[in-house]
């Protein structure tokens, strides 16, 4: 079956492509991109006034499946991803039990395939049981389809284990993703350490908890020559360490989440548990440094760190509340409104950081619009104004600090392998 996408602005900065073009799709791949394509046997979809970009890739989400399906499952998570404009997501292994063996990787991959919406790439654990003691069977997991390794939620605090993980994962061509947090420094903390934590009497998490581990990982990557990817960078100091490391040629990449780009610790005022997230929301100075890091290429990717929770886990005393923000369905809108709309980041940079770069880091196909490429496509209406309404989320996680926010720009159609998996209009 052929599909012809007509009249959209087609943008692929990785190839310098930007113009009003047609895209012809045959089966699951793109067969032609050009002006005014004629294809009488194709189903024509008129996308005039809209923007077509390579399918967005979110390399850091939590799907909670298996074990915590009351928070999210692979189906609700994949629906949420599709609605958020993501054609591919990589899911973290902190499930119950954790994804620390090939059978678990296969379970996620096969369930995601059965669901058949956005592509779901499992990330395997670095350590057995996510306990930070012994290496998990990374080779077996890689064979079963794991695209990367991480003990996300926990930092690998044992430096020797981290060093071995980098060297071993490198053998299989996979990147190790570290959630940088020194537990001896962050212990007991529930928000950023600073003025607001002092005011509210809440235990703080100092920036050093993140930065000492970022520095350690950079040193280990330099020594081993194996790539490391730093998850959800939140501080100015982390950006500076990574900037210097990249200048030295050390194989380090990193990501940032939209909530760290648009919110500060002030969002916690009133003991707002929806703003409780790890790493915590920091300050204006950090936000500015993160945006600067995106602009100068220090920060490679924007990820949602989608962390769905049930209301029972959020509507409690602040220190008892779960960490995390349900982010898949607000990620693109926030970035378009507060970064592109505010002139801080170009549309081209956004496409790189939300598609081509994460695809490259994970070594998965995607991130490009060209003949022969997978027809993974996100269609964006840059002018669409909408308000965040968690009740309408496809995700089971309604935990958002952005409730009621007015955003401009939204994914209106998501196509995976030539199939429409989300669309606001009937075609």
């Amino acid at each position: 079956m052929k599909v012809l996408l007509k009249g959209a602005r087609v943008l692929d900065p990785s190839r310098g492509l930007d113009g009003i073009l047609d895209v012809l799709i045959d089966g699951e791949r793109i067969t032609l991109i050009g002006e005014d394509i004629k294809a009488e046997d194709a189903k024509v979809i008129d996308l005039s006034g809209l923007l077509v970009v390579p399918g967005l890739v979110d390399m850091h989400v939590h799907l909670r499946d298996p074990g915590l399906e009351y928070k999210e499952d692979i189906e609700s998570g994949a629906k949420s991803a599709a609605a958020g404009g993501f054609t591919a997501i990589a899911c973290m292994p902190n499930t119950v039990p954790p994804v620390d063996n090939a059978a678990m990787v296969s379970y996620i991959a096969s369930k995601a395939e059965r669901v058949g919406l956005s592509r779901v790439f499992p990330i395997g654990c670095i350590s057995k049981g996510r306990e930070g003691r012994e290496l998990a069977e990374m080779g077996e997991m890689a064979m079963a389809g794991a695209v990367a390794f991480s003990d996300d939620g926990n930092c690998v605090s044992d430096a020797s284990l981290m060093r071995r993980a980098l060297m071993y994962a490198g053998d299989f061509g996979k990147v190790v993703i570290d959630h940088c947090e020194d537990p001896t420094l962050s212990a007991g903390g529930v928000m950023n350490e600073g003025y607001v934590s002092t005011l509210l009497g809440l235990p703080g998490i100092p920036r050093s908890a993140e930065e000492v581990m970022v520095a350690r990982d950079v040193i280990l990557a330099k020594e081993t020559g194996a790539p490391v990817h730093i998850a959800h960078v939140s501080t100015k100091g982390s950006v500076e360490i990574i900037r210097r490391a990249k200048a030295e040629g050390i194989p380090v990449t990193c990501e940032v989440a939209p909530h760290h780009l648009v919110l500060t610790e002030d969002a916690v005022m009133g003991y707002n548990t929806n703003a409780k997230v790890n790493p915590p929301l920091r300050t204006e100075e950090d936000v500015e440094a993160l945006i600067e890091g995106l602009k100068d290429g220090t920060i490679d990717a924007i990820v949602s760190d989608h962390a769905p929770h049930s209301m029972d886990e959020k509507d409690v005393e602040f220190d008892k509340a779960a960490f995390g923000i349900s982010g898949l369905e607000t990620s693109l809108g926030l970035v378009l409104t507060f970064l592109v709309g505010a002139g801080k980041l170009s549309l081209e940079e956004v496409v790189e950081k939300m598609s081509a770069n994460p695809a490259r880091i994970l070594k998965i196909e995607g991130g490009a619009l060209k003949e022969g490429a997978l027809a993974d496509i996100t269609v964006i209406d840059l002018k669409k104004k909408w308000a965040v309404e968690s009740a309408k989320f496809f995700s089971k996680g309604k935990n958002t600090p952005f409730e009621g926010w007015e955003l401009k720009g939204k994914a209106v159609m998501t196509m995976v392998g030539g199939r429409i998996v989300y669309s606001e209009k009937q075609y």
Partner: protein, 307 residues
């Protein structure tokens, strides 16, 4: 009258409201001197003391305050209750509210618990200490104690010494005394000074001596060994030597300086016995004033007219 239906913290009160409470307390304090210590002001009202943390003086003080005003009281403590069976704070509060109570006094180990409760119930909530956040009635009784002795709360130097980081008493007093026109100096080991404390309105002194010098009020804080997950100073002995208030340090303050302590005191750690039992100590006066300010707060939130 008070602008809000709850008393969650001193930070959200205006100076005039603090003044009103203190003056109300002064007039109610007289009841405690009477032979028959009971007025019918809150007859037919029910007050719940919802205590998730062990407390003797604050709970007794609230209970007596309510009883002197003829309110009925029940004490609900976390141990030996549905809380031990896993009931959430929200559910416990809803259950109590259905019993037609008129106010909840809450003491809880989580900062923000009082504010959380206030979002979920319709009756007035009085914060009797929430984690390391605020303890508004303690600050009110401290201010009342100083007001009675000094005749004013304006232009005084108040030194708060010790574990500022974990102290809800320190936070409430910094907000309160500052709003009333005093200058609050804080001092303590670097490990127990919270980040950006000066943005609360306090002055971070260079040391204990700097804080206490020429002070009108000296307030050593209780060293809360139970709140310290890690050792924040090497030993109690070393703490006393460098940060404890003894007669020698107290001599740096003004001659007529007042010594306050939120209690219970660790004798020989944050405060020497000689200083505690000396003529400047108002610790017993504080206890009495505690009942008076709690009577005032209960009266103003559930008895009086409110805007």
């Amino acid at each position: 009258m008070l602008k809000k239906r709850h008393l969650l913290g001193i930070r959200e009160l205006e100076a005039e409201e603090i003044s009103l409470i203190l003056h109300q307390a002064l007039s109610l304090k007289e009841i405690m001197e009477r032979d028959i210590k009971k007025v019918p002001t809150l007859r037919g009202k029910a007050v719940v003391n919802l205590f998730y943390e062990p407390s003797t003086r604050t709970r007794n003080s609230f209970e007596l305050a309510a009883k002197y005003l003829s309110a009925d009281t029940i004490n609900f403590s976390a141990s030996g209750s549905s809380v031990q069976k896993g009931e959430t704070l929200k559910d416990t509060a809803k259950t109590l509210e259905m019993m037609a109570i008129d106010a909840i006094v809450i003491r809880h180990q989580s900062a923000g618990a009082a504010e959380f409760l206030a979002r979920h119930v319709r009756v007035p909530v009085i914060n009797a200490g929430d984690g390391t956040h605020e303890h508004p009635t303690q600050a009110l009784l401290d201010m009342l104690t100083v007001l009675v002795k000094k005749g004013t709360l304006s232009g005084l130097k108040v030194a708060i010494v010790g574990d500022i980081l974990h102290s809800r008493v320190a936070r409430s007093n910094i907000f309160g005394f500052t709003k009333m026109g005093s200058k609050v100096y804080v001092a303590g080991p670097g490990t127990l000074i919270p980040a950006e404390v000066e943005r609360l309105g306090a002055v971070l002194a260079k040391g204990v001596e700097d804080a206490v010098r020429d002070a009108d009020v000296v307030m050593p804080l209780r060293i809360q060994l139970e709140r310290q997950k890690k050792a924040m100073f090497p030993t109690p002995g070393e703490y006393f030597k460098f940060y404890g208030i003894d007669e020698e340090k107290l001599r740096l303050a003004k001659e007529d300086a007042l010594l306050l302590h939120p209690g219970p005191v660790n004798r020989g750690i944050e405060l020497s016995s000689a200083a505690m039992d000396g003529p400047q100590s108002l610790i017993n006066e504080q206890v009495k004033n505690g009942v008076a300010v709690r009577m005032a707060v209960l009266y103003m939130l559930i008895g009086g007219e409110r805007n």
